[in-house]
């Protein structure tokens, strides 16, 4: 007989450790433990069996992996924390003795980030550990950017020092500069929470949220120490990410920061980027590059050509022309190798493989030929960022919005587009212009429209970049009712409601008819013709009770049976049922006629509206089809194993829920469309 195994020495009891145990083991305070967990990315785990993992019968306990905590034991930061704790003790001792000198000396080594904005430790090694590759870091950038952009917009408080905010802002702006230069911003979305941006860097989609420029309301139930710990980590992370991104496109990091310009609200313009001379700076202007190539043909190639010409005994007619053509050809070849070829199926029958589609417009050229002017009421920062990221070089704005504009002059003739976000002037009958806002009226005449430029609402920019094309400007003219702004991040799933597609494409078959009946039901219940259509089930019941066995009647029987049995039973096929339906309708008709004859009343032939009849028929057809489908499904469900059936039912539940939501939306839309108050949709 082997040794009796002791309880709690292996398995889950050993693999998991509670938080209290972890803190005891590491010999640090709970806040320090929290910090370590946040930085090192250690999170609690859910043991498969809580009872086995915990030694006590405490219900709400957080468990960590013992291995994780062991790994924390060797953390250099832990030593730093301990040193700090010892130092604090020394300081308090010195103060207790009244030895101010000593205390002051010790204080110099103490960690006081709230005063200095800098800590005695660095998180570099943590970054390297958590993100072994750069791609890993990019993958985790969503939360980082959202947090830093939020902090860049916070008011400074004792818990959120101004230095922290300034640093966040700087890092964010630097990151934006990279996006502008590399044209990697893809999408953006105006939500009620703020502005969402999506960029694609090295194939990673990064989505983050930037709040609107309002003073954030700081409520009491937010612990800024926790947030601060995150921010500290994210700042370090974004610093390194920025460094890598900048160097990858051949720029010096950090870029030069002009404090003076920043004080005047230049924001993005306060940074001046410079190349480091190692990596190649990506030329934003491809045209320039091409021209260069054309003007300077390869000497070797030129010699070859000359030789050929001599061989052919041809007189070179126009030298620059030929070189140009050759260069162009060369260019073409190069282009051909770079892009993905389109595969067309030569023969039918093969599988179709998906290929990445090249968008027709390069994001860097979308706005490159336009000059924008932002009116004073528009949000400058997001507009400037987006426009620049999509190739716009000349953006002017009102002087109120800060420095760094291409022009502050609204009347500049070069301006092609002006972004306006105020209602158009209302012209009174006597020709005067009513101005609703006195202040604006004083400084600028908002009524005046400069000819030769397009006035647009800001949403135009967002819709344009999301669709990668310049949208129709007339839909976005000042004062026009804007088309709905749709999120570009929603993946279109079959069966989900898609507001951009027309309604009848996504409806279930016969959904509209059903909706119609519902409405009609509400409207006129007593309608005779409707009654004739909806009656047969009742008659059928009567007949089935009458003795003859009708296969179709089994549905009613099974329905009346107990629920549990009904779930198990299946409902065969009902081929005759529909014929039965027909039969019963005609039978009913005859019955009526007979009754009328007996009572001596002339039968009033029911006036059947052809449209209504058609509708009714369609409805009946739909109902029949639905029923058939239901039967089919029930039949197939019965043949599944118990386990599979359970998963199937679960899935059906969630799908039904989603479908229900979509149906509600469709119904709403139908109603809106019927009432005729629709916003323009594209």
């Amino acid at each position: 007989m082997g040794r009796i195994k002791k309880k709690g020495t292996s398995g889950q009891a050993k693999n998991f450790i509670t938080r209290t145990q972890a803190v005891r083991k590491l010999q640090i305070s709970l806040p320090d433990f929290r910090k370590l967990c946040i930085w090192k990315g250690i999170y609690p785990r859910e043991p498969r069996n809580k009872k086995k993992a915990s030694k006590t019968s405490n219900a709400a306990t957080t468990f960590y992996y013992t291995k994780d905590i062991q790994y924390l034991l060797h953390e250099p930061l832990l030593a730093k924390f301990r040193d700090q704790k010892a130092l604090e003790k020394k300081i308090s001792k010195a103060l207790g003795r009244g030895d101010a000198n000593d205390a002051r000396r010790l204080e110099k080594n103490a960690n006081r980030p709230e005063k200095t904005g800098k800590t005695k430790y660095t998180l570099d090694h943590v970054i390297r550990e958590r993100y072994p590759t750069f791609i890993d870091a990019l993958r985790d950038l969503d939360d980082c950017l959202s947090m830093l952009f939020l902090f860049a917009n916070l008011p400074s408080t004792p818990t959120v020092p101004a230095k922290m905010i300034a640093r966040c802002e700087k890092l964010c702006l630097e990151f934006e500069h990279y996006l502008i230069l590399s044209n990697s911003l893809r999408k953006s979305f105006l939500s009620i929470k703020g502005i969402y941006y999506q960029a694609t860097i090295q194939g990673q989609d990064i989505l983050w949220l930037v709040p609107y420029r309002f003073n954030q309301r700081v409520t009491g139930d937010v612990d800024f120490r926790i947030m601060g710990t995150f921010v500290e980590f994210y700042q370090t992370l974004l610093g390194f990410v920025n460094f890598r991104l900048y160097t990858s496109i051949g720029l010096v990091y950090p870029p030069k920061f002009d404090k003076n310009m920043d004080d005047h609200g230049a924001e993005l313009g306060a940074f001046s980027l410079e190349g480091n001379g190692i990596g190649a700076i990506e030329q934003p202007n491809h045209l320039a590059l091409k021209k260069e190539k054309i003007s300077k043909p390869d000497p070797k190639l030129q010699a070859e050509i000359d030789k050929l010409k001599l061989q052919l005994n041809e007189v070179p007619e126009d030298e620059p022309m030929t070189t140009q053509t050759v260069a162009a050809e060369e260019n073409e070849e190069e282009k051909a190798t770079e892009t993905i070829d389109k595969f067309e199926p030569a023969l039918p029958g093969g599988d179709i493989l998906l290929q990445p589609s090249y968008s027709t417009t390069d994001p860097s050229t979308l706005f490159s030929n336009s000059t924008f002017f932002l009116s004073r009421e528009t949000p400058r920062q997001p507009l400037e960022f987006i426009l620049r990221a999509f190739g716009c070089k000349r953006i002017g704005w009102d002087a109120v919005l800060g420095d760094g504009a291409y022009t502050h002059n609204e009347l500049d003739p070069a301006i092609t587009h002006q972004i306006v976000d105020r209602p158009p002037p209302q012209v009174n009958p006597d020709g005067e212009v009513a101005v609703e806002d006195n202040q604006t009226a004083q400084s600028l005449q908002p009524v005046s429209r400069v000819p030769g430029r397009i006035y647009l609402q800001p949403q135009w920019i967002w819709d344009s970049i999301n669709d990668e094309e310049m949208k129709r400007p007339d839909l976005y003219a000042p004062g026009a009712q804007l088309p709905p702004h749709l999120s570009p991040f929603v993946k279109k799933v079959r069966g989900q409601y898609d507001p951009s597609a027309p309604l009848n494409e996504q409806e279930r078959e016969g959904e509209e008819l059903e909706a119609d009946t519902d409405e009609e039901d509400e409207e006129d219940v007593e309608d005779d013709e409707e009654l004739a259509v909806r009656e047969p089930s009742l008659i059928e019941n009567m007949e089935s009770n009458g003795g003859m066995d009708i296969a179709g009647s089994e549905d009613n029987d099974s329905n009346s049976g107990s629920d549990s049995e009904a779930a198990e039973s299946f409902g065969g096929f009902s081929d005759e049922e529909e014929e039965e339906d027909e039969a019963t309708t005609s039978a009913k008709q005859r019955q009526r006629e007979l009754e009328a004859e007996l009572s001596g009343v002339a039968i009033e032939t029911p006036k059947i509206d052809p449209v209504a009849e058609k509708k009714a028929k369609a409805r009946k057809g739909a109902a029949k089809k639905a029923k058939e489908e239901r039967e089919e499904l029930e039949r197939a469900r019965m043949m599944m194993s118990n386990k599979k059936r359970k998963t199937f039912d679960k899935m059906q539940y969630s799908n039904k829920k989603k479908e229900g939501e979509a149906e509600v939306l469709r119904a709403k839309r139908r109603k809106i469309e019927k009432s005729g108050k629709t916003a323009p949709r594209d």
Binding site: Y43, T62, F134, D143, I192, K193, F240, P254, H485, G572
Partner: protein
């Protein structure tokens, strides 16, 4: 107090003077004197003196006047000393000032005269002992007592010292930010002005900070003055000669000095350097390519990366499509639900232009929640089946492909009492039934015409009827009570009838022989079955043989060749299962013991196998080798019946616990499919034997269920079972529904015997 008393005295003196001078003034000085006094009033003494010096001659006259006046007072002749006085006043202006009347006369509100005195200037050398005391005379009380007043005390003249103008709070803040040199941030309690340090004071502070001597010009190492040792005492205290060490430099000190020198050379002792400002450190942020030598690390299985926040949907838009906006009812519901119970934490809202979009209040909270989630929430990997539920559904053939199968009841065979068993003959023309009335009836299948009947059981019900397989003869076996009857109904042509009669009679001679042999072997042993003639009445009907066994027979199963048939009498312990040989009139008991009560038996359709079902299991035996081959465990509690597929590899089992089980004998001893579609016990199950892939079961709930069960010869493919039809029609009578079913041999028709006294043919 001297300066204050002096003017008072003078005042007392001068009080009288104007009256006196009034008399003299007209005579001696005229108007000039008065003018001079008036012009003096209100002017500061010092400034006046300076002016005096500058202005020269004009002023001199004025100066001279009070002199004259004093002289006049003293009673000295005025005119004679005129020139001298001028000189004197030039020499000592300050001294002369004291003598001048330090008041002016003004008119008060009542028109009377009022003396206004000049301020006293306590110069340094004045004998004012209170000079050190500040202007404020309130004494040693806190300044805060005056907080509510515009002044902060009184000066020595009893005048209010007004509070110096204080900048607004903002100014104070700005001052603090700019921090001019010498700024301390303190307020001088005496003046109420900010207390700033002068340059000298700052210098002193700096010296203290750098551990230097604070006072300028102070020599910390002056030459020693030998107060005592320099004096040669006449009587020395000690006569000891001066020790040598007094004349030698100290080695110990030299050592210590060298230590310091060495430390300075090595650089361990550094000259004082002012502490660096922390501000400067801050800007230095080291950035480098941390991923320079990056190496991908495969993700550990326990590492679960944090899930990304879901992207915003359409309803988060500032200008969503109108269908996303909540209706009034939805809005109300949202508002009335608790914050934690809400499905969404926001209500979709529409703003008709971007400038109207307000800030989102809960943004910080949301981010905070996300942070909490990131480090506090336990992460569990949940496998979510992201598949189309339709793909889970088994692929079923279309109902049209499954046709034909029985759908409607087309023929009804009425009986008076419960029908227990029925069978369709191999030709497919006749249907035999047996029931509680003890009569075996034969109907024409399609017309429901009763062509033959015979009452075989007097009290007992007919439990089972079965036709002998094979077209060459028409023999019906029926069991009522303990008797088994073999009969040849006279419904077929003569030749077949004759063949049938021959078949039955052939065994008689054989039987008598063997029976004797058997008795000789076993000592006085009862035969397990007696093969006899049933009697003339029955023989006239065509019932030719009666086999009597020991207990009630419930099941008869024919072998496919028609020579053997097996019966089951569940109540009999040892002889429950019997195999009868028709050609020899022989009955054998193959099993001496069975592990349970035998329920039913079946012959394998092609091989010499014999299946026996007990309550829980089905055992298959090889009849030739006489050994157990397999034990099939359907898992049912109480098997009621089973049937073997014509192919021989599949069986279906019906049980009283409402289960219908399909066994693939090649696959496993466990059921391949379990079907539980009946609400009551299943009584009978049957395969179609004539080529249609159909099987049916009959249940006490009064319904038959028809299944499509296709068996393919390919070993890799499992049988497909599709339920196709529920046939309802039989009424449930005393908790019994359908008692027995049988398939037609050629057509996809099924007949059923009901407890309600009817048989039905479904086609």
């Amino acid at each position: 107090m001297a300066p204050s008393t002096l003017p008072r005295k003078r005042k007392a003196v001068t009080r009288d003077v104007p009256e006196m001078s009034d008399v003299e003034s007209e005579a001696e000085f005229g108007d000039g004197q008065l003018e001079g006094i008036l012009s003096d009033s209100g002017l500061d003494n010092d400034s006046e003196e300076e002016e005096d010096e500058e202005s020269g001659e004009d002023e001199l006259d004025e100066e001279e006047i009070p002199e004259d006046y004093r002289d006049a007072e003293n009673g000295e002749p005025n005119g004679a000393r005129n020139g001298l006085v001028v000189h004197e006043s030039l020499r000592s202006d300050g001294l002369d000032d004291d003598d001048a009347p330090n008041y002016t006369i003004e008119k008060d509100a009542n028109g009377g005269e009022r003396y206004v005195y000049k301020d006293i200037d306590p110069v340094y050398d004045s004998d004012d002992s209170d000079f050190a005391i500040k202007d404020n005379t309130i004494g040693d009380i806190p300044l805060s007592f005056y907080d509510t007043y515009p002044h902060i005390g009184y000066n020595i003249d009893g005048k209010r010292i007004m509070r110096p103008a204080k900048g607004e709070a903002l100014d104070a803040l700005l001052d603090s930010i700019e921090a001019p040199r010498g700024w301390t941030g303190l307020t001088d309690p005496a003046t109420g002005k900010p207390l700033n340090l002068s340059q000298e004071e700052l210098e002193i502070l700096r010296r203290i900070q750098t551990n230097e001597v604070p006072e300028d010009g102070y020599n910390p190492y002056p030459d020693m003055v030998e107060y005592f040792s320099g004096i040669q005492e006449i009587m020395p205290l000690s006569a000891a000669p001066e020790p040598k060490r007094r004349f030698l430099p100290s080695k110990h000190e030299a050592k210590r000095i060298m230590k310091i020198v060495r430390a300075i050379r090595e650089g361990t002792i550094l000259p004082y350097r002012p502490p660096e400002e922390r501000e400067e450190e801050e800007d230095v942020e080291v950035h480098y390519d941390i991923w320079q030598d990056e190496q991908a690390r495969p993700n550990h299985i326990t590492n679960i990366p944090a899930p990304k926040a879901p992207p915003p949907g359409y309803d988060l838009s500032y200008n969503p499509p109108p269908e996303y906006l909540p209706t009034k009812a939805e809005k109300q519901i949202w508002e009335s639900t608790d914050v934690e119970d809400r499905e969404k934490e926001y209500l979709p809202t529409k703003y008709d232009s971007l400038r109207k979009v307000p800030g989102y209040e809960k943004l910080i909270n949301e981010r905070f929640e996300r942070s909490l989630d990131l480090y506090l929430a336990p992460r569990v990997r949940k496998n979510r089946l992201n598949i189309d539920p339709a793909s889970l559904l088994p692929k079923l053939p279309r109902p049209e492909e499954l046709k034909p199968f029985p759908t409607v009841c087309s023929v009804l065979y009425r009986h008076k009492e419960r029908v227990r068993s029925l069978a369709i003959d191999p030709s497919g023309i006749f249907l035999a039934t047996g029931g509680d009335d003890g009569i075996v009836r034969v109907f024409e299948v399609t017309t429901a015409r009763q062509v033959w009947h015979s009452k075989i059981g007097d009290e007992e019900a007919v439990n089972v009827v079965r036709w002998r397989p094979g077209r060459d003869a028409t023999i019906l076996a029926a069991a009522a009570g303990e008797d088994i009857f073999l009969m040849v109904p006279d419904i077929v042509d003569i030749e077949t009838e004759q063949a049938s009669l021959d078949l039955l009679d052939a065994g008689f001679g054989y039987a008598t022989n063997t029976v004797q042999a058997l008795t000789a072997n076993g000592a006085r042993k009862d035969p397990v079955a007696k093969w006899t003639r049933p009697g003339t009445r029955l023989e006239a009907d065509g019932v030719l043989i009666k086999i009597t066994v020991r207990s009630t027979v419930k099941v008869i199963t024919w072998h496919r060749r028609g020579d053997f048939f097996s019966t089951v009498a569940p109540t009999a312990q040892k002889s429950a299962v019997a195999i009868h040989t028709l050609s020899k009139h022989l009955t054998q008991i193959p099993f001496r013991r069975l592990p349970g009560i035998a329920q039913t038996v079946q012959f394998h359709p092609s091989r010499p196998l014999f299946f026996v079902a007990t309550q829980r299991t089905i055992r298959s035996y090889d009849l030739q080798k006489q050994e157990l081959i397999k034990i099939i465990q359907p898992g049912a509690r109480y098997i009621s019946s089973f049937d073997i597929h014509p192919g021989g590899d599949n069986i279906i089992v019906g049980s009283y616990d409402r289960r219908l089980l399909w066994h693939d004998l090649d696959l496993s001893t466990r059921p391949y499919k379990t079907m539980r579609f009946h609400s009551k016990a299943i009584r009978a199950v049957k395969y179609h034997k004539g080529g249609f892939p159909l099987f049916a079961d009959a249940s006490d709930d009064g319904s038959l269920q028809i299944f499509h069960g296709k068996v393919v010869s390919d070993l890799m493919e499992n049988a497909t079972i599709v339920p196709v039809k529920v046939l309802k029609g039989h009424k449930v009578k005393s908790a019994l529904g359908v008692m027995d079913i049988d398939w037609h041999y050629k057509e996809p028709w099924v007949s059923s015997a009901g407890a309600d006294g009817t048989c039905r043919l479904w086609m």
